[in-house]
């Protein structure tokens, strides 16, 4: 238990190093990209370069990705601050988002599925 906690915390610390490095770099170079994405790129490059081993971060990384919804909860509660959303226009906005999200997912998935099938067919005839 103690050992597991220590592993988890030290792995979280390594991921945080990349996060803060990303935030710092984005700030210094005033990049139009958020620090977390810069951190992602830095970690990816370090993994490919062999500077960081997958085992060093895999446990904490897996936990962060598995519990992602938890990290959105406070923002979802924050909608409470927008009393303006709790009226007719708010309802219409939610409807718009629902329809648009449906169309976006359908269009993206349709395109990918079509291209995937065509690629597979092409592969067979060769």
């Amino acid at each position: 238990m103690v050992r597991k906690t220590i592993t988890m915390l030290s792995q979280l610390a390594i991921i945080h190093v990349f996060y803060f490095a990303g935030v710092g770099l984005a700030h210094i170079l005033s990049l139009p990209v958020p620090g977390s994405i810069v951190g992602l790129v830095l970690l990816l490059l370090s993994l490919f370069a062999g500077i960081v081993k997958l085992e060093w971060i895999e446990k904490a990384g897996g936990w962060l990705l598995a519990e992602l919804l938890l990290f959105f909860v406070p923002s979802a509660v924050g909608i409470l601050n927008y009393k303006e959303m709790l009226n007719w226009q708010g309802l219409e906005t939610v409807l718009l988002i629902l329809i648009s999200t449906f169309i976006v997912m359908a269009a993206t998935g349709f395109t990918a599925e079509k291209l995937y099938r065509r690629k597979r067919k092409g592969g067979h005839t060769q």
Partner: protein, 234 residues
């Protein structure tokens, strides 16, 4: 109460209710019980009953909000593990996400016009399909309200997480690449979370879809959206 104690309580309460919501959703997987709908609703109920101010709750749960940053960094792991798979499908990924981002902006714009939305509301809606920090950047660039965009990003995530499986069934999406890209493009991190339930490949394609969507929307935000807005406002 000291700030440390407030954060301790908020962190624990949020975590316990989140865990409970996940158990409920696993037992009764109905859209209404989606953890990102059920858990916030219970918390909002508690906040109202206890007469707390929303900003107190925001402070008390700030540890979990902070974790979104490191979690984004951790998306490097599935990309690294599945790099050959991504390289093999790069053309499918680029084409589908280009289509997805254009449809996201176009459909938001058209539906806004149909519903007679305009001004800040319309502009803040355009970048809502992508992950929060970049959506805020795009919103600023095109003259929207970042806080309003944040709300729309969250609503998009909740909605997309719920309707995603229905879209996959309805469109008969069979390949991991189509399933993953649809979820990551349509509902950013929340969709990617769902994609990981389908499988590791779906999760990886969703991750890369989410990142590419953010990148492409950033480009459209600078090039395409300003001229689109000019045309539609004229």
């Amino acid at each position: 109460m000291t700030t440390a104690l407030i954060i301790l309580i908020g962190t624990i309460v949020t975590y316990v209710i989140y865990r409970a919501s996940k158990v409920v959703y696993k037992k009764w997987p109905m859209p209404f019980f989606h953890p990102l709908l059920l858990c916030p609703l219970i918390l909002i109920g508690i906040i109202q009953l206890a007469h707390l101010h929303p900003s107190d709750y925001a402070l008390s749960s700030s540890l979990w909000t902070h974790m979104l940053g490191p979690a984004t960094v951790a998306f490097a792991i599935p990309i690294y593990k599945h790099a050959p798979l991504l390289r093999k499908n790069i053309m499918i990924i680029l084409t589908s996400i280009a289509a997805g981002t254009l449809v996201a902006i176009g459909s938001s714009l058209l539906l806004s016009l149909v519903m007679r939305f305009n001004g800040d509301l319309l502009i803040s809606l355009l970048p809502r399909s992508i992950t929060t920090p970049i959506a805020i950047e795009v919103s600023k660039t095109i003259g929207g309200l970042p806080t309003l965009t944040t709300v729309f990003v969250i609503v998009t995530g909740v909605t997309g997480g719920i309707i995603g499986p229905y879209v996959i069934r309805l469109m008969a999406l069979k390949s991991p690449v189509a399933r993953g890209l649809a979820l990551g493009m349509g509902a950013h991190g929340v969709g990617t979370n769902k994609a990981m339930e389908y499988g590791e490949q779906e999760g990886t394609f969703s991750t890369i879809g989410m990142i590419m969507a953010a990148g492409m929307t950033l480009i459209w935000g600078g090039l395409l959206i300003p001229s689109l807005l000019q045309i539609t406002i004229l």
